[in-house]
């Protein structure tokens, strides 16, 4: 259950529309089911009242939409930002990717978002409705007469289980209580992989990346991937490629993508959320984040606007590329 209610958000949005602060509202729109929620732009109170939703399935990070929306829209837009979204928001501002003056950011607290795949693992397919009842979800399927109660806690998305921060780092207005940054265990999985032998690691990634269908969902949803044109789509870049023709190209795409967002990735986890093949792409990004923290000092992309990302920075005392391994080997 989320701390702020749908009604509170709608009231806020309606009020800001009414007093002319904003002309548009970027929010979550209800879908066919109770969990297939789509980001949408609302312009009136009627639209909001009819279709706006706020529940445990509002995972989408709106920050990236601001790049296109502020460019196109003729007025100010209200955006609701969960704590993790605010990091992407700041990172995009650092990179001058949208016009801050055209955005009214409302920070909203988040208790973590549920992963529908995990719900289905518990309740099976054929869900006809999901209702929030306190800290649980009441899931009704066509196969069961009685709704199954599932604790939200038990079906939280991986990124929410390893939430790094409940603190908003950017907003014009904050609703509800602000939280703190958290000590998460988000690097445990990375460390587990690091502890494997190279052969095991190779086998692990071969298995994961071989499922890639190059749908580009990870890239297209990523708030760090806002390039006007991605090098992989650009025939003149020399590395254009459209399909994972073989295991090399799967790796090429994901390594280069991770490298391009290294130091800029806020670890919002959208890439893994949207991957149709459930490839744990966040483990690539987190590897870079972990390395950055260990090699160059703790750095959280998006924590503040204008910070200098580690890969566009240096010290004269940085460790040598060869020492990277010595360091890990002695740690291990």
């Amino acid at each position: 259950m989320q701390a702020i209610t749908r009604e509170q958000l709608i009231n806020k949005a309606v009020a800001l529309l009414a007093d002319g602060t904003v002309k548009y509202v970027l929010g979550w729109k209800k879908g066919e089911f109770d969990y297939d929620i789509t980001p949408a732009v609302f312009e009136t109170a009627e639209e909001l009242n009819a279709d706006f939703v706020w529940n445990d399935f509002c995972g989408a990070n709106f920050s990236k939409y601001l790049v296109a929306k502020t460019r196109k829209l003729d007025g100010k837009i209200l955006v609701f930002l969960k704590p993790c979204d605010t990091y992407s928001f700041n990172q995009l501002l650092t990179e001058h990717r949208f016009d801050r003056d055209k955005v009214y950011a409302v920070g909203i607290p988040c208790n973590g978002m549920a992963d529908i795949a995990k719900v289905k693992e518990v309740c099976g397919d054929g869900i006809s409705s999901i209702a929030t009842e306190g800290d649980a979800l009441a899931v009704t399927t066509i196969y069961d007469d009685e709704p199954v109660k599932v604790a939200v806690e038990s079906v939280l998305a991986e990124r929410c289980l390893n939430c790094k921060s409940k603190k908003h780092v950017a907003y014009d207005e904050l609703m509800g209580e602000d939280g703190d940054t958290l000590d998460s265990n988000r690097f445990d999985e990375v460390a587990k992989l690091e502890a494997m032998t190279p052969d095991e690691r190779f086998a692990f990634w071969q298995n994961e990346l071989s499922r890639c269908i190059r749908c580009n969902a990870c890239r297209d949803v990523c708030p760090a991937c806002t390039c006007e044109k991605c090098v992989f789509d650009n025939p003149t870049s020399g590395v254009e490629n459209k399909a994972p023709a073989n295991s090399f190209e799967e790796k090429m795409f994901h390594i280069i993508r991770a490298f391009h967002v290294a130091g800029r990735c806020t670890d919002c986890g959208e890439c893994s959320r949207v991957c149709p093949q459930n490839i744990p792409l966040h483990l690539l990004n987190r590897k870079f984040i972990k390395d950055i923290n260990e090699f160059y000092g703790e750095y959280q992309a998006g924590a503040e606007v204008g910070s200098r990302a580690p890969l566009v920075n240096y010290t004269t005392e940085d460790l040598e590329p060869g020492e990277v391994f010595d360091r890990r080997d002695t740690n291990a």
């Binding site: 460019r71 196109k72 650092t94 990179e95 001058h96 990717r97 806002t226 390039c227 006007e228 044109k229 991605c230 090098v231 650009n234 003149t236 870049s237 020399g238 590395v239 391009h260 967002v261 200098r308 990302a309 890969l311 566009v312 920075n313």
Partner: protein, 664 residues
């Protein structure tokens, strides 16, 4: 599609001995775009260049590949050749089949195979070359000389005499540098002050020269022809224009216990001081670390005695902005610290001194008014031991001294020995040496005179230790020729300390983006062919900042640096390197990533209206590269995630084509 000509050079037998040049030119004939391929004994010769020129005309070549020696050697030559034949010089690529092939591989099949691959890579690259036209930038006709020693003075005078304005920045209150501290100069034994001070006066009076003494370079921006320099003028608490240099203040100042750095601390000066009688500018300076007025507001004697009213306790550091077309570094040297050489007891006995201290001791203007007296008790010494190579020629691992030979010690030690014997023939003088190095006009003759005419004892061997005992210094040394260990009771020991670049050089190099070697000597653009230029365009080197030098050498290098500066300032416009970064605006995200890595600040951003792919228009922030500022390192090209940044001459596509050609 290009029409490429391939020219394989034999380099006599340098290439042809290990590379089948015929096979290379034949193989490359089959590469895409190649319409002509040949080989010749010496492509760089006039005849070879004519082959290229003729082929360009005959085969209407749009690009050429020369398989020859390193591009560092003859790229410029072949570019000129191409230009002479009407081809854009940047349509030339060199395959380095000499230094990186024929010279490092032994057998013909291996060499030939590799040469063909290197040739293919060059062909692949030239297929993607585009004609480049260098940009032009104006030149600010003013030079900056950093350092006012003999190197800086000579450079400044030469430039100024050619009619260009010059500014000298000197961090001490006076120009003159180390030479002003010397007594006599080898090999002619004329007095340093007699030959230096007229030059200092020339500088002071030259209409084209300004002196910023007691000043340092704070910041350097810009690039060759267009440097923007901030000079920090330290507050000297004396109005320079008003001060007449009468010296009244320096006599009345009650603070008498300030170690006199000009005499290396062997005597004292006042808190307000003029370093030496012939100082330029001859202006007093208040030392804020000792001045009672500045420290606790109690005193003000100097202001009272100053007839000119030049004292100004409220003076602040001043920052001066100036534009320069060229910068000459003349930051000089210092003797190294003797702290790590306990065996010579430098820190234990006042009678163990460095050679520079010895210079002051024999100088008529020095602490003893030129009388050779022991610093400890002012007695006349009877036995003097000179130790050479203290801290020079050391192993890097020993971490005590410098690996290089300090070059000047052999000569000045001979000079010192001779000066002693000249004034005090009764003194026993020993010089311990490893080698006596005297390559220079009249140098060896000078050294022989010390031995033969003056009877200086030159001992091949090294002093192992010096132990102060009572009022003598027990010197233990080896005499390698006699195969004996010597024990000498000396009254004075003089250490020929190694010299090192001034400490200000390293931070200055960073500001100038000029490179240095591991010893903090500035690196020259080419050790033989461009010895007075730094690799950073527009930055020149004069004197000991580039390596140990004696005065004649320093002066000649100073003149050489000046002539380079004059050559630069004589131009109205500079043509730049066209191999620079450029941004594809349609691809650019305006994210500032490239700006953050650019070491030259060459990238700026602007908001521009664009027609987007979906036919809408949008205002986007995009990067733009200042072609005059960009030096073409390519850091931005990798930082740019969208690949909007590319480097002309080393484009992503060209490098990938080379990779592909090599790997196929």
């Amino acid at each position: 599609m290009q029409r490429i000509g391939v020219f394989v050079c034999w380099c006599g037998s340098n290439i042809a001995a290990t590379v089948d040049v015929e096979a290379v030119s034949e193989a490359l004939k089959l590469e895409p775009g190649v319409v002509f391929s040949t080989n010749y004994q010496y492509m760089c010769s006039q005849a070879g260049q004519n082959i290229i020129k003729d082929a360009i005309a005959e085969h209407k070549l749009t690009g050429i590949v020369v398989c020859s020696c390193s591009p560092r050697m003859h790229e410029a030559t072949f570019r000129k050749t191409a230009a002479a034949a009407g081809l854009n010089p940047y349509m030339v690529e060199i395959a380095n089949i000499r230094e990186q092939c024929s010279w490092v591989h032994k057998d013909v099949p291996t060499g030939t195979e590799k040469a063909i691959i290197l040739g293919k890579a060059a062909v692949a690259k030239v297929n993607l070359n585009a004609p480049l036209i260098p940009g032009e930038t104006p030149v600010t006709k003013r030079a900056l000389v950093i350092g006012g020693g003999i190197a800086g003075i000579q450079t400044a005078l030469d430039i100024a005499d050619a009619g260009f304005p010059v500014d000298i920045v000197e961090k001490k209150p006076t120009i003159g540098g180390k030479m002003s501290q010397l007594d006599k100069t080898f090999p002619t034994l004329d007095c340093a002050a007699c030959i230096l001070t007229p030059k200092m006066v020339d500088v002071a009076q030259h209409e084209n020269i300004r002196i910023f003494s007691y000043s340092e370079v704070e910041d350097v921006k810009g690039f060759v022809g267009n440097f923007d320099v901030t000079i920090k003028k330290h507050a000297r608490y004396v109005n320079e224009a008003a001060c007449t240099g009468c010296g009244a203040c320096t006599e009345k100042c009650p603070q008498k216990k300030v170690p006199n750095e000009f005499n290396l601390g062997m005597d004292n000066r006042r808190a307000i001081y003029i370093p030496f009688a012939q100082a330029v500018p001859k202006v007093a300076t208040i030392d804020p670390n000792y001045c009672n007025m500045l420290k606790n507001g109690k005193c003000g004697v100097c202001a009272k005695v100053c007839a000119a009213g030049a004292i100004d306790y409220t003076q602040k550091d001043e920052y001066i902005q100036e534009k320069y077309g060229a910068i000459v570094v003349a930051t000089g040297f210092n003797p190294i610290s003797m702290d790590k050489f306990d065996e010579f007891a430098y820190n234990q006995s006042k009678d163990v001194i460095t050679s520079l201290e010895f210079e002051r001791l024999t100088n008529a203007a020095g602490p003893t008014a030129g009388k050779l007296l022991r610093p400890s008790d002012g007695k006349h010494p009877h036995t003097i031991v000179f130790v050479q190579c203290v801290g020079s020629r050391c192993d890097a691992k020993a971490e005590k001294g410098k690996e290089y030979c300090s070059k000047i010690c052999c000569m000045y030690t001979a000079k010192h020995a001779m000066l002693v014997k000249d004034k005090y023939p009764d003194v026993d003088v020993y010089v311990f040496y490893i080698d006596v190095r005297t390559p220079g006009k009249n140098f060896d003759e000078f050294y022989r005179r010390a031995v033969e005419e003056y009877g200086v004892h030159y001992v091949k061997g090294m002093v192992g230790k010096v132990v102060p005992e009572g009022d003598v210094l027990k010197v233990q040394a080896s005499d390698l020729i006699a195969n004996k260990q010597l024990h000498i009771d000396a009254d004075l020991v003089v250490l020929a300390a190694a010299i090192e670049p001034d400490k200000s050089a390293r931070p200055l190099a960073t500001k100038l983006t000029a490179s240095m070697d591991t010893n903090d000597f500035f690196t020259e653009a080419h050790p033989k062919l461009r010895p007075v230029e730094s690799p950073t365009a527009g930055v020149f080197l004069s004197g000991a900042c580039q390596g140990p030098k004696d005065i004649p050498e320093t002066v000649s290098q100073a003149g050489a640096a000046a002539s380079k500066v004059i050559g630069l300032l004589a131009k109205d416009k500079l043509t730049g390197n066209p191999c620079i970064a450029h941004s594809d605006e349609m691809m650019c995200n305006g994210c500032s990533t490239c700006e953050r890595v650019c070491p030259y600040g060459a990238i700026t951003y602007m908001d521009k209206e664009f027609r987007m792919p979906d036919r809408t228009t949008a205002i986007r922030r995009v990067a733009s590269v200042n072609p005059a500022v960009c030096q073409g390192c390519g850091a931005c090209t990798v930082a740019c995630p969208s690949g909007a940044m590319n480097l002309r001459g080393f484009s992503t596509q060209q490098i990938m084509a080379e990779v592909d050609a090599i790997c196929k």
